[in-house]
Subunit: 159 residues, 2 copies
């Protein structure tokens, strides 16, 4: 380990620690595959390489990777993260821009949540009315088949 740092540990300020992609992956929670991918799509800059063509990452690179990982955890898309990164790096960004981006994302999330909740409501109604035994009658299939439909009336109301 410590690929190219002098084995000298006490004298050097340890700032220049460099890591291979595998170490960067375990240290940041971003898989090596994804790190390479982010590089090819230009989300992160190309890093230095060793003479043997291995990518090397310094601590500030890890910081960026953790930023990306955290943003993914919050559900931001790559496109949004690209913007977030540039705002992060821009010391004079207006926080309103960041805030707007986050609010837009929250609205997207809420829209998706609403859509899925509507599905859940319909499905739960159907499930409630299905015997769930060995008999073939099944309101779920009847609903999907668009049959006269005594049960849900396709839940046009109550949305």
């Amino acid at each position: 380990m410590n690929l190219h740092t002098p084995s000298n540990t006490a004298r050097v300020p340890a700032k220049a620690a460099r890591h291979t992609i595998g170490r960067a992956a375990t240290l940041t929670g971003v898989s090596a595959k994804m790190i390479r991918h982010y590089e090819t799509i230009g989300l992160i800059p190309r890093t230095n390489r060793t003479p043997g063509n291995y990518r090397t990452y310094k601590d500030s690179d890890l910081h960026t990777l953790r930023f990306i990982q955290r943003a993914r955890t919050l559900g931001f898309s790559m496109a949004q993260i690209r913007v977030l990164l540039s705002l992060w790096r821009n010391r004079s960004r207006p926080s309103a821009q960041v805030r707007k981006l986050a609010i837009d994302h929250v609205m997207e999330l809420k829209a998706k949540i609403d859509a899925m909740q509507a599905m859940v409501r319909t499905l739960e109604t159907l499930v409630q009315h299905c015997h769930g035994d060995t008999r073939p009658e099944c309101p779920i299939l009847e609903d999907l088949a668009g049959e006269p439909d005594k049960v849900t009336s396709r839940q046009k109301a109550s949305r």
Copy 2:
């Protein structure tokens, strides 16, 4: 229109109505593109063709397509729909099977909803604490950057 049916309308029982893929698409809400796709992946059988190699759809085919469309609306995956279709066609299915499939799907949906709601909670907290003006200070970016983090404490609790 009515590509190959005799223009005779009164005598023929009108059962044998056949439609081109475009008509099938507008009548079912499934795009022509998707109808072809469903055929190639074996979700629906290959239909008859006209002498000019056009696909033709009869009313029962439209019924199947509407079934698929409705199932997509409810968020079922292609794999699940494949099963649902076979259960639908099997007159002696036990309704328990259908019910279980629906319940599993509901659980998947709820898990996704929960995950997204967690994102929303975190983001809304961050948004609340962001001034959103011309100043660069921004708790959102600070959180993403993993800074000491006075605001959310990454919301470890309250899950």
